[in-house]
């Protein structure tokens, strides 16, 4: 048996690990692999950081290979280990902490470093880059305590950061030294259109501005410009460019220029040392996008596996801005110069722009704004270098040759594409992988393909190509490009379903699924709970709640924890309790050996680590109402002290909170909702990040709505100001019912308000008669609720489900 050779990868990022994935497929047993990464995380998709920041993805979702993947593939992974030197004599790599690892082959993939403007004050707290998870986390936390953000640099990265910060609720100003934004990717016309669109989304711009210094004691306070003007800000994100990270080459005697110098097979000048990714320079070019890096990775993997391969010949790149609501695409050389000519169309009404640049009969560049559907095919034509003579107008107008009945269109281009060409750059999906998914894994719709291969799941720039390939491989078997319904079981939307239920008076989940022709008659964990909610909301008196269609938490009326135990939260109205109740909670906790007691974020006591079979017994002894800390219902009404004790208080916040909690407890809703009442504008109960928050002012109450303090922070909007407690109750009831009737299942008020618009809500609640009608409906529903804990304690048939079946008997 041959001893595997030792392969060390330095840099646990996108390019390096991609090459390893490839290598594992080609030669699984040739190497014993060790990876060093300076970050504490397993390999993740850096591209998706912008979507994480924008709130549409969570950090955990962007991990490409989790810890298990390394284990399963026998890869030794050292995170938090920065390699400082490669000793090419002894053939070992040495980390900053002194760790050493021998190698037969070593690959450098250290990516790049964000370029930080060397201006005075750039080292202050609150000045950051946008490169890794840590930067994202810094932005999340800054947005919690500060309001104003500045982004220096209006390139792709800067704008994506700015969009994310807007979503985090910050006021964002983008500073750019050029007179127009994204000048490296767009021409002036497209840039102007983009700016208009972003301004409409709330971004502010300061153009032709050069930053001079940053001031502030400890933390940044102000950004000064060379023209003497300045901008107050609490956070500065620098996105002015990246530099290939050549530190290791420098300390190890490896040749570098801008980046580490490599040949077409990713060799450096040093034997057994290869490099790839953003840290390298190939034929004079250092790339800052993943598609070329993946191509480099494929070549390197083949070479390391001993498989014959053509060298890497460089890439033409395309870019797409990942900002929702704006479609921008550019590729190749899109600024016309001498010897090239440009054709363009601009439609200011539709907000679209398209320009193609031609040289010597070939397409060399393109810019699209507003409608980027043709991006993929234009890009392909740039890459292939085919002649487009006689087809210029068709390309410009976007009428495909297929439509015109000529050959040479996109279909034949896709047909001729080699199997190992990467179609989706973000996720490194090849044409071959798409073919395999369609032919062997039964993916016959775009959605299925996306789920199965991840193609088009990041930036979406390749959608047209993926759809083209789907048609190519599946032929007539292409499924309906299914309209996306509330889940995979139906193509109907929430509104369609609710409308049908109402008009046909469908009364059970089963009936809905049958009549509305669910394609999965059993439903799933998405549609069943939502139908259960819609039916209950529409017919509070007649519908019998189906507990099997509720999640664990709501079936067992306690929160399931990761180890299968539960946590119990008794209701403590308004956060106000009594010594007697505290004693009772404490003694129950002791009696049942509760390992952890904690105050929740909403001023309640949470008893953790309770065994399921103990739940009913605990409730019985507690004799308190369920705090509903588990359901899609009213969670808590947080209060401050108010005028009872506080010297600032103008109104009785505790009494108001308790009244509200008693009135609305147990109310089911599309998602959980939280309320709060503060006794004065100091707002100690943090009422303006709640689904509904009441803030007392002298002689009146302000009602704020649509706030959220979760992953994506959203501050409330002021709904109205009222004089009396009764009015507070009326508006709250009406608001909650309107939300219950119009929101989608699982949609928090913050998203709901963003979707339907504050004005719509204001309008719906404007007239008192409308409010009273809503209040009447919510009252009806509330009058039918009961306390689930009590119900279970008193009912053996329900109670049995908490116990395991006694002992099995052998027969």
């Amino acid at each position: 048996m041959t001893v595997p050779k030792k392969l060390v990868l330095i840099g646990n990022g996108m390019a390096g690990v991609r090459a390893i994935e490839h290598l594992l497929k080609l030669a699984p047993d040739t190497y014993e692999i060790t990876i060093f990464g300076a970050e504490p995380h397993p390999n993740y998709n850096r591209i998706m950081l912008s979507t994480v920041l924008a709130g549409s993805t969570e950090l955990k979702d962007i991990v490409i290979n989790d810890w298990d993947w390394y284990k399963d593939n026998h890869i030794t992974l050292h995170t938090n280990q920065t390699i400082k030197k490669i000793d090419t004599q002894r053939k070992v790599v040495i980390s900053e902490s002194g760790m050493e690892a021998p190698y037969d082959e070593v690959v450098i993939a250290t990516g790049s470093k964000p370029f930080m403007l060397p201006i005075p004050g750039a080292d202050k707290e609150g000045v950051i880059a946008f490169r890794d998870i840590q930067d994202c986390e810094k932005m999340f936390s800054a947005a919690k305590s500060y309001k104003k953000a500045a982004v220096i640099g209006a390139g792709l990265l800067g704008l994506e950061a700015a969009r994310g910060l807007l979503n985090l609720g910050m006021e964002v100003t983008v500073i750019h030294k050029h007179p127009y934004i994204m000048e490296r990717q767009l021409d002036e016309a497209a840039s102007l259109m983009l700016r208009k669109e972003l301004e409409a989304q709330g971004m502010k711009f300061l153009l032709s501005k050069h930053s001079a210094s940053i001031t502030g004691r400890g933390r940044v306070k102000e950004l000064q410009f060379t023209d003497g003007s300045h901008l107050a800000t609490d956070l500065i994100v620098m996105a002015v460019g990246i530099r290939p990270n050549v530190d290791l080459a420098r300390s190890s005697g490896i040749d570098y220029n801008n980046g580490i110098l490599v040949d077409d097979f990713m060799n450096t000048n040093m034997a057994h040392v290869s490099a790839l990714g953003e840290c390298v320079e190939h034929r004079g070019v250092a790339y800052g996008l993943v598609a070329p890096l993946y191509e480099q990775g494929a070549v390197l993997a083949k070479r390391l596996a001993g498989v014959e391969t053509a060298g890497y010949a460089g890439s033409v790149t395309s870019t797409k801005l990942k900002v929702s609501g704006v479609d921008v695409f550019s590729a190749g050389r899109f600024i016309e110069t001498e010897g090239s000519r440009a054709l363009r169309i601009q439609d200011d009404m539709a907000g679209t722009y398209k320009k193609i640049v031609i040289r010597g009969g070939k397409l060399i560049g393109a810019v699209l704004f507003g409608d980027t559907a043709d991006g993929a095919s234009l890009f392909a034509s740039i890459k292939s270098g085919e002649s487009i003579e006689g087809r210029e107008k068709e390309l410009l107008l976007g009428i495909s040759n297929d439509l015109l009945g000529k050959s040479g269109g996109s279909a034949s281009r896709l047909e001729n594409m080699p199997d190992d060409e990467i179609v989706c750059g973000c996720n490194g999906v090849t044409k071959g992988a798409i073919g395999d998914a369609v032919l062997n894994k039964g993916c016959h719709t775009f959605g299925e393909l996306k789920a199965c291969t991840k193609a088009s799941a990041s930036c979406g720039g390749c959608k047209a190509d993926i759809e083209g390939l789907l048609h190519l491989f599946a032929g007539d078997a292409v499924g309906e490009s299914a309209k996306e319904g509330i889940c995979g079981c139906t193509s109907l939307s929430r509104d369609e379903i609710v409308e049908q239920i109402q008009s046909m008076r469908l009364m059970t989940i089963k009936e809905v699924m049958h009549v509305l022709d669910w394609n999965n008659k059993e439903g799933c964990s998405k549609c069943r709970p939502s139908l259960n909610y819609y039916l209950g909301m529409l017919f509070p008196e007649d519908y019998v709640d189906e507990k099997e269609s509720r999640f664990t938490n709501e079936r067992y009326h306690a929160n399931i924890q990761k180890d299968g135990t539960y946590s119990v939260v008794p209701r403590i109205y308004g956060g106000v309790t009594t010594p007697a109740d505290l004693i009772k909670i404490a003694s129950v906790a002791e009696k049942f050996n509760v390992p952890l007691v904690k105050f929740t974020g909403g001023q309640r006591l949470d008893l953790f680590g309770v065994k399921k079979e103990d739940l009913p017994k605990m409730w019985e002894e507690l004799e308190m109402a369920s705090g509903h800390a588990y359901g899609k219902t009213l969670r808590t009404v947080k209060t401050c002290v108010g005028n009872t004790f506080c010297r600032f208080g103008t109104q009785d916040a505790m009494a108001m909170g308790i009244k509200m909690e008693k009135a609305f407890e147990r109310l089911n809703a599309p998602a959980k909702f939280k309320l709060a009442v503060s006794g004065c504008p100091r707002n100690c109960a943090e009422a303006t990040i709640k689904d509904l928050g009441v803030v007392a002012i002298d002689g009146a109450w302000e009602i704020h709505v649509g706030g959220n303090a979760g992953v994506k922070v959203r501050a409330c909007d002021l709904l109205t100001t009222v004089k009396t407690e009764d009015e507070v109750m009326e508006w709250t009831g009406a608001y909650l019912q309107y939300y219950r009737e119009t929101a989608q299942w699982n949609e928090r008020t913050a998203h709901w308000i963003d979707r339907v618009g504050l004005d719509t809500v204001k309008k719906a609640l404007e007239k008192q008669e409308d409010r009273l009608a809503l209040v009447e409906r919510v009252q009806k529903t509330l009058s039918l609720t009961t306390d689930p804990w009590k119900e279970i304690v008193d009912n053996d048939e329900l109670r049995k489900n908490f116990e395991p079946i006694a002992g099995p008997l052998p027969v």
Binding site: K521, E522, C524, G564, K800, N801, I805
Partner: protein, 103 residues
Amino acid sequence: MSKLLIGKLSDIDVRGSRTVRVKETEIALFRLEDGSVLAIENRCPHKGGLLSEGMVCGTVVHCPLHDWKVDLHSGLVKDPDDGCVTTFATEIDPDNGAIYVVI
């Protein structure tokens, strides 16, 4: 192989579940709408979630922790995830509704 008497049909709600411990193994028994009872090991292959607490849709149970879907007949995890759970044969006495599990 041994056959164990677990309980009777009415111990389990339709589309509900109960658990039983046999030596080291916790078994989850599900009663489906068609009257059958299926038994699997009560441990999700993902992170050990208790499948007995999950929602039953047809012949599939959704793990309560991260929504993996496990087929109760085969024990196989449904796409896009991978894995499987041990299944146990069950018998129901049509006369008195007694449930047996074969281990």
